[in-house]
């Protein structure tokens, strides 16, 4: 509005920085439903990514995201006591994904989702994403989730250990073994 008044000389103000999750959790604990959509904007991508890496199915990942948000809404005043909301969300996501996997029938073949996507619609990215997704599907669930938490959530091994519920050493070991297997599979594909 000011830009119009000044003859368009001023540039539009940059969008305000997103509210921190801690504030959003406080708003939610007060029963403010509008905070839900702000949490979704901030965290849905990461929750969905982890769910996708854990379940390997787009439909299951969507169910996990829904479960996490329902659980979040049910916490009420307890949300105020959560010191690290991001870690809490990742932990709840992981548990919800494990629940979904338990419920999934072993006889039913899942439709394996693409676990990675390129930044644009470049064909080269698509080929790489497909090759890597295929290799990721062949890793164990634990190795895949640790790779996600390290590479995409950028957590330390200590934080990964807390999220996954294993010692730091085990988290680091899973990561290294997973990365090693992944490279081996990719090298074998190249040959």
């Amino acid at each position: 509005m000011n830009a119009e008044r000044h003859g368009g000389a001023c540039q539009a103000a940059p969008p305000p920085p997103p509210e921190p999750l801690t504030t959003l959790f406080e708003r939610l604990s007060d029963g403010d439903a509008t905070a839900l959509s702000a949490v979704y904007e901030t965290a849905a991508s990461e929750i969905h990514g982890l769910a996708l890496f854990r379940t390997r199915s787009a439909a299951d990942a969507a169910d996990v995201v829904q479960d996490v948000f329902v659980k979040l809404a049910q916490q009420g005043a307890k949300l105020r006591a959560i010191r690290n909301p991001r870690a809490w969300l990742l932990t709840v996501t992981r548990r919800a994904a494990i629940d979904v996997l338990r419920k999934r029938s072993k006889d039913v073949e899942i439709e394996e989702a693409a676990l990675l996507a390129g930044p644009g619609s470049v064909e080269e990215w698509r080929a790489d994403a497909g090759r890597l997704s295929e290799a990721l599907h062949r890793l164990s669930d634990q190795q895949r989730e640790v790779l996600y938490l390290k590479h995409f959530s950028e957590l330390s091994f200590a934080e990964i250990g807390k999220t996954v519920g294993v010692p730091t050493f085990t988290a680091a070991s899973r990561y290294r073994l997973g990365l090693k297997r992944l490279r081996k599979m990719l090298d074998a594909d190249d040959d």
Binding site: A33, L36, S45, G49, V65, A73, L116, H151, R183
Partner: protein, 109 residues
């Protein structure tokens, strides 16, 4: 530079695909419904808890099984009265001796 963009990272600029657009409405509707529902108090939650019911049933069953399965102990020895009790029980009856009383006028005088 983040982890997944490091030259040694196998992922390069690849990232997991974001959630589908239609998911947001579905998730927020479910979450708002959950937010609007009143939360039961702790006692009610405990009473409704399947774990609580299961543990209650398990304890009850254990008591019934214990009652039926545990054999009776050896019979108690027959009570033998002590000497004192025996003596107390066998006190001889007091022999009542009636003294004749002369109720004539002469005796009064």
């Amino acid at each position: 530079m983040t982890d997944h963009e490091r030259p040694d990272s196998p992922f390069g600029k690849l990232r997991p695909p974001g959630p589908p657009d239609e998911l947001e409405a579905r998730v927020l509707a479910a979450a708002q419904l959950a937010l609007a529902q009143p939360r039961p108090d702790p006692w009610e939650r405990t009473w409704r808890s399947s774990w609580f019911r299961l543990s209650w049933a398990a304890v009850f069953l254990a008591l019934v099984v214990g009652h039926l399965a545990v054999p009776d102990g050896p019979p108690l020895p027959a009570s033998t009265p002590t000497v004192a009790r025996r003596e107390t029980a066998s006190i001889p009856e007091i022999a009542l001796v009636f003294v004749p009383v002369d109720l004539t006028v002469a005796s009064v005088r």
